[in-house]
Amino acid sequence: MGRHDDQGRFMMNRLRTRGLTVCVLVVVGLFCLGPVLWQAVTSVKPDQDLVRLPPLFPERVTSVHYDRVLLKSSLPRSLANSMIVATSATVTAIVVGAFCAFALARLPITGKSVILGVALVTSMFPPIAVISPLYLLMRELGLRDTLVAVGLTHAVYSLPLAVWLLTSFFQQLPKELYQAARIDGCTPLQALLTVIFPLARPGLAVAALLVFIFSWNEFMFALTLTASDATRTAPVAVALFPGLYEIPWGDLAAASLVVTLPVAGLALGFQRHIIAGLTAGSVKG
C-alpha cells in the first residue's frame, strides 16, 4: 500500500517536473523567438496596418515590402558584398588558422601555451578599442571603403577563435598518424595535407562555419570601414534603411529576415556538427 503511494507520488513529481520544464521552455522560446515572429508578421503587413494594434495578425498579406527591398533597394548588392566578405574572411582565417593550429598542436615549438594565451587575449579586446587605429591604418593603406578591408579585418579578428578550435581538434588526432605519415616518407606539409586535414574535416567545417557566421553578422567594423553602397555589407545596409523623416518598418522587417535567413539556415543545418565540434574530445572520433 505504501509502495502504491510512493509510486503515485513519484508520478506526480514527474508530472510536475515535466510541466515546469515545458513552461520554462515556452517562456524562453517566446523571449528569444518572439521578436523574430513579430518581425515576420510585420514584414507581410500592408503599410497602413503597421502602426495599428489590433489586429495582431494581418488580415491581408502583402509582399510589397519584399518587392521593395529585393528589387528597388541596394540590399541585393549588400548581400553579395556580405557573401564575398564572409567567404574570403572564412577562407583566410581557416587556411592561416589551420597551419598555425597544426604547428601549435604537433611541431616542436617552445612557448606554445604563451602563444595560445596571447591569441586568446587579443580576441578579448573589445572591437571599439581597436576601431580608431584600424580605421587610420586602412586609410593609410588605401583600403578604406573596400571589401578587402572588411574581409581582412574579419579574418584577423576571428583568427584566434579558429586557431584555438583547430589546435584542440588537431591535438585529439592520434599523434601516431602524423608520425606514421612522416615515416612513410611525407614532408610535414605533405603529412598535413594528405593525412591530418582530411581527418580534421569536421573540425575545419565547424571553425569555418563559426567564422562565416561571425563575419556575416559583424556590424561595427563593417560600418566604420565602408562608406558607399558598393561596399556596404548587409547588416550595415539594414541599419541605414531608416529614411530622414520616416522609418519604413515593413521594409526593415523584410530586410532583416532576408539577411538573417542564410546564417540561420547554416546554423540549423550544421547544428549537430557545431555542437559535436565544440565538444569534441569527450568523444573519440
Binding site: 608520425q179 612513410d184 616518407g185 611525407c186
Partner: protein, 369 residues
C-alpha cells in the same frame, strides 16, 4: 638492409634523463629485440632511430653513415606502431600504397607499378580480399597485417616494430610471431623489435638486449642470456615463471640457501671463508615431490600455496621455512605424475647443479669479473 650503430646516444628533456648514454650495434639483416619493462626507454630509442625525435647527444649510423640529423623520410626506415596508426580515411589499398605515392614525383613509380606492388604485398600477407575495406572494418589481426604491409611495401633499409603484437589475443600473437619470423627470413631486412614481453623476446630474436631504466643490462643470444643472466635484474626479468632468488651462504663445500642445501657446481673456484651470495634457481631446476619420500634429508620441506598447470609442466609455488623459521616462497616443477594439492606438505630439491650465483651488493653475476 643496413648495419645500425648507436653511439652514446642520449636523450634528456630539461633536467630529466629519458635515456642515459647508450651504445649498441645491430648487425646487417639481424632480428634484434629490445626488451625491458615499460619506461625503460625502449620506445624512446625507437623514435630516435626512426628520426621522430632528436637525441640530446650521440650519433646514429646506418652502414657507417651518420643519419642523426636526417629527417625520417631521408632515413628510409619503416615503423609499425603499437596502435597500427592506419589512416582511417583510406582503404587498405590506399594505406598500403601510401608510402609509394608520397615520394617525390621524379622517383615515383607509375600508377600501374604501384598497384602491382600493392597486390603483391597483399597476396604475401593474405590481404588480397580486403583491399577495398577501411581500417575500421578489419579485425585486430588484419589491421596488424595492413600495418606490416604498409611498412614492407617500399623495402626499407631498417624495419622497426614497436610492441606490434600487444593488442592481439594470445593465439593470434603466437601465429603472428611465426609470420614475422617467416617474413624476416624471406626479406632479410634488419629488424629492431621492441617488446616488454620476455617470451616474445626469447622466441623472436637472433640477439636481444635487456634494458632497464635506459641502461643496457645484457646483450646476447636468447639462449645465452637465459643460461647465464648477467645480473639480478636480467635473472628476474627473463624467463617465466621468474627465477627464484634466495640469499645464501657460500661455504667451503656447500651452499646453504635458506632451507635448501645445494650442491656446489663442479669447477667452481674454492672460497676461503663463508661468503654471502644470492642464489638463482630456475623453477624448472627445482623438483617438488611428495614429502617423506626417500632422500628427504637436506631438502626443504614446505607447504603448497599455488599450482599452475602449464601444458606438460605443473608449476608449484611452495612456502618453506628455514631453521630460523623465516618463510621463503619459491616456485618449482612438480615431479612427473605428481599433482600436489594446495596445503599439501611437499619436499623441494635441486637435483641438478644448474644454479646461478650473484653478488648481493653489486647484483652482478658472481665470478663474472
Amino acid at each position: 638492409m643496413a648495419e645500425v650503430r648507436i653511439e652514446l646516444i642520449e636523450k634528456r628533456i630539461g633536467q630529466k634523463t629519458i635515456l642515459p648514454p647508450l651504445t649498441l650495434t645491430v648487425h646487417d639483416g639481424e632480428f634484434f629485440v629490445l626488451v625491458g619493462p615499460s619506461g625503460c626507454g625502449k620506445s624512446t630509442l625507437l623514435s630516435l632511430l626512426a628520426g621522430l625525435d632528436q637525441p640530446t647527444a650521440g650519433r646514429i649510423l646506418f652502414d657507417g653513415v651518420d643519419v642523426t640529423d636526417l629527417e625520417p623520410r631521408e632515413r628510409d626506415v619503416a615503423l609499425v606502431f603499437q596502435s597500427y596508426a592506419l589512416y582511417p580515411h583510406m582503404t587498405v589499398r590506399e594505406n598500403m600504397a601510401f608510402p609509394l605515392t608520397v615520394v617525390p614525383r621524379a622517383k615515383r613509380l607509375d600508377r600501374k607499378r604501384i598497384e602491382e606492388e600493392v597486390e603483391r604485398v597483399a597476396g604475401f600477407l593474405g590481404l588480397s580480399a580486403l583491399l577495398d575495406r577501411r581500417p575500421r572494418e578489419l579485425s585486430g589481426g588484419q589491421r596488424q597485417r595492413v600495418a606490416l604491409g604498409r611498412a614492407l611495401i617500399r623495402k626499407p633499409r631498417l624495419f622497426l616494430l614497436d610492441e606490434p603484437l600487444s593488442n592481439l589475443d594470445a593465439q593470434l600473437r603466437a601465429s603472428m610471431r611465426a609470420e614475422l619470423l617467416r617474413l624476416h627470413k624471406e626479406l632479410k631486412v634488419t629488424t629492431i623489435y621492441v617488446t616488454h614481453d620476455q617470451t616474445e623476446a626469447m622466441t623472436l630474436g637472433d640477439r636481444l638486449v635487456v634494458l632497464n631504466q635506459g641502461r643496457v643490462q645484457q646483450i646476447g643470444r636468447p639462449h645465452d642470456i637465459y643460461a647465464a643472466p648477467a645480473n639480478l635484474f636480467v635473472a628476474g626479468f627473463m624467463g617465466y615463471p621468474p627465477m627464484n632468488l634466495l640469499s645464501a651462504r657460500l661455504g667451503a663445500d656447500s651452499i646453504r640457501a635458506g632451507p635448501l642445501d645445494l650442491t656446489r657446481p663442479p669447477g667452481m673456484p674454492p672460497v676461503d671463508q663463508a661468503q654471502s651470495v644470492t642464489v638463482g634457481l630456475r623453477p624448472e631446476d627445482l623438483v617438488v615431490r611428495p614429502a617423506n619420500g626417500p632422500g628427504d634429508e637436506g631438502n626443504g620441506l614446505g607447504v603448497v600455496r599455488l599450482t599452475e598447470p602449464s601444458g606438460p609442466t605443473l608449476w608449484v609455488t611452495v612456502e618453506l621455512n628455514d631453521l630460523n623459521n623465516e618463510a621463503f616462497t619459491i616456485i618449482g616443477t612438480a615431479q612427473a605424475g605428481f599433482v600436489p594439492k594446495i596445503g599439501e606438505r611437499v619436499a623441494v630439491s635441486a637435483p641438478r647443479t644448474t644454479l646461478h650465483l650473484f653478488d648481493p651488493t653489486t647484483e652482478q653475476r658472481w665470478g663474472a669479473g
